[in-house]
Symmetry: C2
């Protein structure tokens, strides 16, 4: 009833509009979820990490595509037995309901970002978000290892990779961050970065 699978970076996990036969739990790695327009424009709607679910109800088809960013392991539950499990186990459904509610809340933050924030604010918000997710935030100058490319960051933030790159460059000049490689970013001043993210700097 549960099936384990592996995916390499760039590999497709589910395609938009595909019948949602499985409920997928990510057990390792990072996954991007996205929606696309017919001419190729992409919007990444979220990243999944260990413990996150994909394919929660929402009708008979996945409403997003999913692709592995780093090497990914998943645990796939075929739907009918899973639905039965839910019926017999209200606590589990309660748990999923909580997760769905958190997703709604996260989506609303994302909507504010895409609808109303400037490029600087978007990138700053993104960095803060990544720090929170990585739970390395207790350090005075937390250090990130981003699994995604500049283009993927751009697709998450509703901008172009060039602008992402320029803004990160500006943050470096401003002494807000430092980098060893493109994927390794240290936040030199988390407090100020939080203010930038909210448009207060």
């Amino acid at each position: 009833m549960s099936l384990s699978r592996r995916f390499e970076p760039h590999q497709t996990i589910v395609e938009e509009g595909q019948p949602a036969d499985f409920l997928i739990n990510v057990t390792a790695g990072t996954v991007k979820l996205f929606r696309t327009l017919s001419d190729g424009r992409v919007q990444i709607v979220g990243f999944l990490k260990r413990g996150d679910f994909l394919g929660v109800p929402a009708g008979g088809a996945y409403n997003v595509g999913a692709e592995a960013i780093s090497p990914v392991e998943t645990c796939n539950f075929s739907r009918p037995p899973f639905e039965r499990l839910l019926n017999d186990n209200p606590t589990l459904e309660h748990r999923l309901f909580q997760m769905a509610s958190n997703e709604v809340a996260a989506a609303r933050d994302h909507l504010l970002l895409l609808g109303r924030k400037t490029a600087r604010e978007r990138v700053a918000t993104f960095l803060n978000l990544m720090v929170d997710k990585a739970q390395c935030g207790h350090a005075a100058t937390p250090c990130l290892d981003l699994p995604m490319t500049r283009a993927e960051i751009a697709d998450y933030l509703g901008m172009t990779m060039e602008t992402v790159s320029r803004v990160l460059g500006a943050f470096k000049s401003d002494g807000l961050i430092s980098t060893t490689s493109p994927s390794e970013i240290t936040l030199l001043n988390p407090d100020r970065l939080k203010k930038v993210a909210e448009g207060e700097a």
Copy 2:
């Protein structure tokens, strides 16, 4: 345990960050949900109509503000008894879970819109969405009566009211819509408008 309330247009229903003491069910009218930045920028994250809920879990505080657009009636459930009701009634929780999943799907459409669509595409998408919600879509040339102002449409679409106005003007010149008053819009060519919404025209 359940409390009925009325709100006039412009009246605040809940404030962002307020403790979420009630779960609110809209029984009549239209409500806007929004998030704001400290400098006054607003993003509307959704509209509620009859049957929609506000204040579903998501922790101890509302993560959005809510304001009446048209005269609104609500039914407020104080939280502790409602939680008990949920525990005793898995079917009800199942129902709310479905609604939350639908909300996630809607939010993802909205993210694609805000992150990647042009002004024309945004307005076209909005009109289509309103037709669907109003269920007057079976007519060959469905007619809308929008309860919200141009500024509110703009805040939903992540643009300015001027641009909304200009795009609607362009749609009129293109023969896509006609208007009797600013709030009354007839879709003269729903099929083509759908294509515009997806960037295929």
